[in-house]
């Protein structure tokens, strides 16, 4: 009997391993099929193909998710030995545990909805086949990132999503601005990637392996605050900063809005930009043991959340507002990580994926309706013109603002309670940050949908609701934005901490190692932390309604607002202090070092070789008698040197 069980059991595991491989195979095949035959393929077919691929993937992901959550075991799949020389051995292998199962469910689920949405959104575009090829490529790399069981393969996925992001930001490459945005994203990420790479080197030299689980096991034996660990975690965090758009590497994300809106929703809101959070959650053991890094993460996360939130209030481009909102929310997640609340960060990541994707898709729907208009000053009164989009947008807004019972409330609540456990000051700061969300989101809502119609809107008679293929995915996201929070109720209301319990095996080791465990909050404090923010939220909504709905033109900015509206002059500061000096140094080096010294040397070698070749060729005269004489002389010489000497 038990033998049968064992056999069944191993059979199931084998199936799961196969599924985890297929999860990577399908999007890759989708990419190859669409990418290689993009000229031949029917333009309406590529979207369907790409979506079906992700649909199959979603089913596979659901099966895997069900397996790991019910059986509480991880699926380890060995693919092949990738690098093997000397004592270095890096196998390609996949790990499906609860963390990666959650991530791949998000990637495939949100990915599927956005793929379907794109069928409608990109319908008229010439390059629609190329678009879907890139989208599948992105999913492939994102899953590689999420599923990999070692840091190097994770890095491949990491670079791969960066590549897909670059390709999609510059998707409309005929416009030079888009190319610049793509390059900016790529270069900014490169800075972070360098940090990540250094972190990988350090990891290898410290632990002699790159396997995530082995490193966690070895690191858990090290003392807290170990210098090497601090260095490693700092390097990894620099990588995360680049990918997840944290200060100082965040300026690429708003520019990345140059890509098509579904791309902004999938890559630059829901999935890729959260890779940094995933990386840190994955390496939770290392980070828990480096309190210094954790504090830095906390500070940078908070700073990013504040700066992003403030800038968002002063933006006039609908996508830019959402982009800075993403920056701010990512900062909020990093705060959670810095506070040691890994499951809080992951929970907010999950809910954020739903409502931010919803908001972006709604924004896309608005842009689509208005014929590619993104400036909110030229909108207004749209709630009557596109009622469905309006309804969906309002759901997203409520969810992101943290109004109960929508999803954002619960995930923010988890982070806020972690902040209050850390200290009242930190709690108040976190509350203030989350209130910023209300400000910029409701401003956006009111200006776009409630404000009296602008003259552009009045003149535009082609405003139309988006097709069903776009609205249905948004509706599903809206439902998720409403209900997703219920898996994890605040401690006040329910004993079942669904999300926390689900991820607890993944973070068990880290939470066991955590040095300071915060004090549990009293019931009164918990109530206060719930009620005060919510009341402030309603006050803020009222205020911004007064301020923005009745005001015909957006007020002229004065003083400090000018700084906010100009994004704190981050780009200008970088340009002056980094780009210009770097360009100067590069020019000097190019002239002196490269052109004169290196190029001169290389050319000399090349010319020398050419000269010898020219001479050598003359030996080959074509005279067979001469050849024979050469041969004889050679033989004599050989025999002479070998025998006589």
């Amino acid at each position: 009997m038990s033998e049968l069980v064992t056999r069944n059991y191993s059979l199931v595991t084998e199936y799961m391993e196969l599924i985890s491989i297929l999860l990577l195979v399908f999007p890759l095949l989708g990419f190859l099929a669409i990418g290689l035959f993009q000229k031949q393929m029917n333009r309406s077919f590529s979207g369907i193909l790409a979506s079906s691929v992700i649909f199959i993937n979603l089913i596979l992901a659901a099966i895997l998710f069900n397996f790991v959550s019910s059986s509480n075991q991880t699926v380890e799949t060995q693919l092949f030995d990738w690098i093997k020389f000397g004592d270095i051995s890096i196998p390609m292998s996949l790990t499906v545990d609860r963390l990666s199962a959650l991530m791949m469910l998000i990637v495939n689920g949100v990915g599927l909805l956005i793929h379907i949405y794109s069928i409608g959104y990109m319908k008229e575009d010439e390059g629609v086949n190329r678009f879907f090829a890139y989208m599948n490529l992105f999913v492939f790399f994102m899953l590689t990132l999420v599923l990999s069981s070692n840091y190097l393969m994770l890095f491949i996925g990491w670079e791969g999503v960066g590549l897909s992001s670059y390709l999609l930001i510059g998707f409309w490459f005929k416009d030079h601005v888009n190319n610049d945005a793509a390059k900016k994203a790529f270069i900014m990420n490169r800075i972070g990637d360098l940090g990540f790479l250094l972190g990988i080197f350090l990891l290898y030299s410290t632990f002699k392996t790159l396997s995530i689980s082995e490193i966690a096991a070895k690191a858990s034996l090290m003392p807290s605050g170990d210098l090497t660990l601090t260095a490693i975690t700092l390097c990894l965090f620099i990588g995360a900063m680049g990918k997840s758009a944290q200060i100082p590497l965040f300026t690429w994300l708003p520019d990345a809005m140059a890509g098509p809106t579904p791309v902004s929703a999938l890559i630059h809101a829901a999935t890729m930009v959260t890779a940094g959070i995933y990386l840190i959650a994955r390496s939770s053991v290392l980070f828990v043991l480096s309190p210094v890094t954790m504090n830095i993460i906390l500070v940078i996360g908070a700073a990013t959340a504040i700066v992003g939130g403030i800038i968002a209030i002063y933006q006039n481009d609908i996508k830019k507002v959402l982009a800075y909102s993403t920056v701010s929310q990512l900062g909020f997640m990093f705060m959670a990580l810095g506070l040691g609340s890994f499951s809080g960060a992951m929970f907010h990541l999950t809910t954020h994926a739903f409502f931010k994707a919803l908001l972006f898709l709604s924004a896309g729907s608005v842009i689509h309706a208005l014929g590619n208009e993104q400036d909110i000053r030229k909108m207004g009164g749209l709630r009557k013109k596109i009622p469905f989009t309006f309804a969906l947008f309002i759901i997203g807004t409520i969810a992101i603002s943290g109004i109960p019972p929508f999803a954002g409330f619960f995930s923010k609540e988890l982070i806020l309670s972690a902040a209050y456990e850390h200290g009242t000051g930190m709690g108040i700061l976190a509350t203030a940050i989350s209130l910023l969300t209300t400000l910029y989101m409701f401003r956006l809502l009111f200006v776009v949908f409630y404000k009296p119609e602008s003259k552009e809107i009045k003149a535009n008679h082609h405003i139309h609701e988006s097709p069903k293929v776009m609205l249905y995915p948004m509706a599903i996201l809206a439902i998720l934005s409403v209900v997703a929070g219920f898996v994890q109720m605040p401690k006040l209301f329910s004993e079942t901490q669904g999300f926390d319990t689900f991820l607890s095996p993944v973070f068990a080791k880290a939470s066991g190692l955590a040095t300071v465990s915060g004090q549990a909050l009293s019931v009164q404090t918990e109530w206060l932390t719930l009620i005060i923010p919510i009341s402030i939220i309603f006050v803020l909504i009222f205020l911004s309604y007064k301020r923005f709905v009745n005001n015909k033109e957006l007020a002229v900015q004065t003083g400090i607002q000018h700084v906010f509206a100009n994004k704190f002059y981050f780009d200008e500061i970088y340009d002056f202090f980094l780009v210009k000096p770097l360009a100067f140094i590069s020019n000097v080096f190019r002239g002196l070092l490269d052109q004169t010294i290196i190029n001169g040397f290389v050319n000399a070698v090349g010319n020398g070789t050419l000269f010898v070749g020219k001479r050598l060729r003359r030996l080959q005269t074509g005279n067979v008698g001469l050849y024979l004489i050469f041969m004889v002389f050679s033989i004599i010489a050989i025999l002479f040197f070998n025998i006589i000497l």
């Binding site: 090349g606 070789t609 050419l610 010898v612 070749g613 020219k614 050598l616 060729r617 030996l619 080959q620 074509g622 067979v624 050849y627 024979l628 050469f630 041969m631 050679s634 033989i635 050989i638 025999l639 040197f641 070998n642 025998i643």
Partner: protein, 459 residues
Amino acid sequence: MYAIITISIVAIIVLFLGAIQKKTPLLPIIFVGLPVAFIINLLGWNQSIHYYNEMYIADNFSIAFNAVLIFTTLLVFIFAPVYYKPVKRPLEDIYALILFALIGALTMTGFGNILMLFVGIETMSLSLYILAGSKKFDPNSNEAAMKYFLTGSFASGFLLFGIALIYGACGSMNLETIKEFVVAHHNNIPAMLNIGLLLVAIGMTFKIGAAPFHFWAPDVYEGSPTLITTFMATVGKVAAIAAFFRLMSSSFSDMESSWVVTLTIFAIATILIGNLSAFYQDNVKRMFAYSGIAHAGYMLIAIIALKQQAAGVLLLYSISYTIATITAFAVLILVREETGTFSINAFKGLAKHNPTEAFAMTIAMLSLAGIPPLVGFAAKYNLFIAAIEQGHLPLVIVAIVGSMISVYYYIRPVVAMYFNLPSATSAIDSSSNYKKQIFLAAFLMIVLGLIPGVIINLI
């Protein structure tokens, strides 16, 4: 052994059919016969059968190399109908001679007795002499045949003399017996054996086309009909290097001191001369001849470092060299067909009208140059590693420098194909046969580059 017999029968049938003026069944018979021989050859895997008093040994080494040789010959025959399209007569003599040369090559990889080696070499060489001159009314072809014959028989003389001296010293021509003799007289190897070995090595060096006995190669390769050049550059060279390796590893590995230095100098000279002379060639066919010389130098490294996994590495190298060379020649034949010249200029703008061919040529060139992830890189990498582990670092450094030089001339056709689009000549009409073969080769070059271990661990 039975593969050799099968091919002999096929060759005789081909000759007979030609004699009674039947043209159509010639190639079909070959296309059936060679795969059959290929399978029969593989059936002996892991059995290591010794035939006719140790004259012929069908061990894994010879079976693996024979598989490569038969497969390569098959690829050459695939091109025959296109190459010989203008020729109206049955061509049974040429086909049969190619098959006879193949028989010689198969004998060379599995010899158990030095006499057998000589028989194999002469069977192959005599066929090749005639094949080189098979374009009867082309003076270049005649000249090539004459030069090849003169220098080749010269080298055969030394080879035979060396064999005689070895026999004189050891009293046997059996590889095993010679090895026993070498082991027994480890400390006082007779000078006669030393000289004999050197003369045999000189003969073999000539056959693989390595310096300083390479002078025949450029002229012969250039003058011969291109299809025959393809055959010589692949089957001829691989068979000779496999035979050389077999000879050294099975009998003389214990008297390394008396030949390693000489062969190292040969290898260094070959790599440098081959690569440097290819540098200035505008004639692509001649450039490939020099490239073939350079690769003979690399393959010599496998013999010098024969103690490691060198047999497997040599096999991988042979496969990599063969596939890339045959692909390159295939495209060269196509280009020549269209433009009537072998000049590098003929390649200009090829990518515009013939992207497949240009792509395959690019892959072949990059593989020959040893650019990852193609098989050429994997082969060179493993070869160099094996040599470094044996302590031949200076040799490897020269080889790497040679590789670097080679990138220049391998890239030239690529540059011409892709960066001169405006001057593109009209499209080359290529039949589907060609495309499939080219695709297969490009595919192999990429896949084997990713999994070189499969080949290396084979033997």
